[in-house]
Amino acid sequence: MKLKGTEILMRVLKDEGVDTIFGYPGGAILDIYDELINTDIRHILVRHEQAAVHAADGYARASGNVGVCLVTSGPGATNTVTGIASAYMDSIPLVIFTGQVPTPLIGNDAFQEVDIVGITRPCTKHNYLLKEVEDLEKIIREAFFVAKSGRPGPVLIDLPKDMMNATINYKKAGPPQLKSYNPNYNPNIKQLQKVINLIKDTKQPVIFSGGGVILSKASEELAEFAHKAQIPVMGSLMGLGTFPGTDPLWLGMVGMHGTYRANMVTGNCDLMIAIGVRFDDRVTGKTDAFASQATIVQIDIDPTSIHKNIPVSIPIVGDCKAALKSLNKLLDKENTNGLKKKRTKWLDRIEQWKSTRPLAYAQSEKIKPQYVVEKLYELTEGKAIITTEVGQNQMWTAQYYHFSQPNHFITSGGLGCMGFGLPAAIGAQVARPDKLVVDVAGDGSIQMNIQEMATALQYNLPVKVVILNNGFLGMVRQWQELFYEKRYACTRMEVTPDFVKLAEAYGAVGLRATKPEEVEAVLKEGLSSSKTVIMDFVVEREECVYPMVPSGAPITEMLLV
């Protein structure tokens, strides 16, 4: 059968189950767009290519599928880099198609030419430049396979314009065959048995759950394991939602802005079972002092995550879900009746940390940003999909919205990328039209991709944006207050648009609260609207996120309210 490159592309995309693409057309990619409109694949036209990648990221996390982007060459391609880097750090499966100038022009500094394969080599799991149309299907199938298998990540395919126009005798290719890429899913059972023995012996254990648990869809297994073994659970930022935020065994987030009890548990535990985490510096603080009394077990599908930042006593390479399933089976063979009693003292001690130092903030006449998030949690009953921008808004959301389900908290964790929240909310809403999707933003970060309001409106996506508006780049200002003697160098946003008017200008609903007593009414009105809404909360200007562990300090040495 004779087929054009573009026809093969569409055929394989359909075959891979792609129903939605986030993209932005341009010269080098015109042929693909010309073919795309002949298919039933839904295309979401964003307003900036960076947002296309963040939206695909939000889509992937809310749906559990691979997110797909389509952009043109040159600036279209370079604009995706931030989004790709963010997805790479957070291990999100994406396939990004970039247009490229025709093959004979590559290397000639042609119009809108850029070596995007070279640029994205360090921030993709893998990438390809198509050189023969005959390889097109093989490359696409490999890309999807690589993106979603093992430790997931973004994969980029660069498509020269002439390849898309070329016609070949098409023969369907088989499943991808990669010579050496073969992630190990099944953990070593002997290592797992060692963990079971430790669980029986130790008095002060803790489970540290991360994004890997979400990626391997292992939340149920985690809950079963924690309850069977009577071990409290703390989460990394990416691990929020892996374990019910209302469960008595839940400790909250650990790290720089973790809860007092989670950080104290880290310093005092004798066994840490880390599942799907990579011991980021924002979690560990001073590495020498991190869980220094504990035997550390680390379960991860990526061998490079093990022993990278923290030395581990029992490394276990494998899929989190498979490991937890096996651990649960092994526990079934043991007598676990005595475990609850054995942990009483430890759990009591944790309860004491919790009651003496709960998450807290001082009340005032101004709206407290924490209060807005608390109310948001209350009114949505913890069931909304929440995306965030980066900074204080992100940390307060992590602290005060008690996530209970996986895939409900969507944030740029590793890269910490401002401008992530709104496009990610758009992607999540596309994936889950049945869900309430809220972006918690700051007045700084919302402006980094505010243009995506138009995208939301074009596709009638009723995302809600909650702006915690303090007129500052809040987190940077916090560091300046605490570590730079209040020298607020360039963190004051002296001019900020009127977000209510801006919402209206886009055709959305704009609401504002300036006093604490208005917060609930504004949230109720905004959340119940069937339209896209911006809610502008004018909050306390110089509020800090506490607890805070200064950069490089031991995790148990916190600044508190």
């Binding site: 394969v117 070279g118 360090p122 799991k125 430049l129 050496s180 061998p303 490079t304 022993h307 030395p311």
Partner: protein, 162 residues
């Protein structure tokens, strides 16, 4: 932790961009490359890259794991710690004034090197051997006057069982 020399032998897909992935990995993560050699194997679709790096144990473990993560890398062997043969070749251009010519040739003879180019004022010497041998030769030639030197970097293979 002790920083030791490690010889890595890496089989990779013989494709454009693969070397860049590896060198990018080393530079991006702050690892050292002391020397690097690339050429196709018997199978023209596969190349062998020999990298010599200096690192402590945790870092060398991380380097090997990171290399294994790259899709185009087929196999990573560490030769250090087992029996292997290593060789490096160098071309050394030595100043050869008449009064030193006999001396240079005597050194060439002792080290079993070859003179591959002769001029009125220079010899170019080809030498093959271990890093130690090359260094020993150089230390004798330097007082006489070395004009230029080029080295291939180390190549190495495991020893077979006898």
């Amino acid at each position: 932790m002790k920083n030791d020399k490690h010889v890595l032998s890496i089989l990779v897909d013989n494709e454009p961009g693969v070397l860049s992935r590896i060198s990018g990995l080393f530079s991006g993560r702050g690892y050292n490359i002391d020397s690097l050699c690339v050429a196709a194997t018997l199978d023209p679709k596969i190349s062998r890259i020999t990298i010599v790096t200096t690192a402590d144990m945790p870092v060398i473990e991380q380097i090997k794991k990171q290399l294994n993560k790259l899709i185009n890398i087929l196999k990573v062997y560490e030769l250090t710690g087992s029996e292997f043969v290593e060789r490096e070749m160098a071309l050394i251009k030595v100043k050869a004034k008449p009064e030193y010519r006999a001396e240079i040739l005597r050194i060439v003879d002792i080290f079993r090197c070859k003179v591959v180019d002769v001029g009125l004022n220079h010899y170019t010497i080809e030498v093959t051997g271990t890093e130690e041998k090359l260094n020993a030769l150089l230390s004798l030639l330097k007082p006489i006057g070395v004009k230029e030197i080029v080295k291939t970097g180390i190549i190495a293979l495991f020893r077979e069982m006898k």
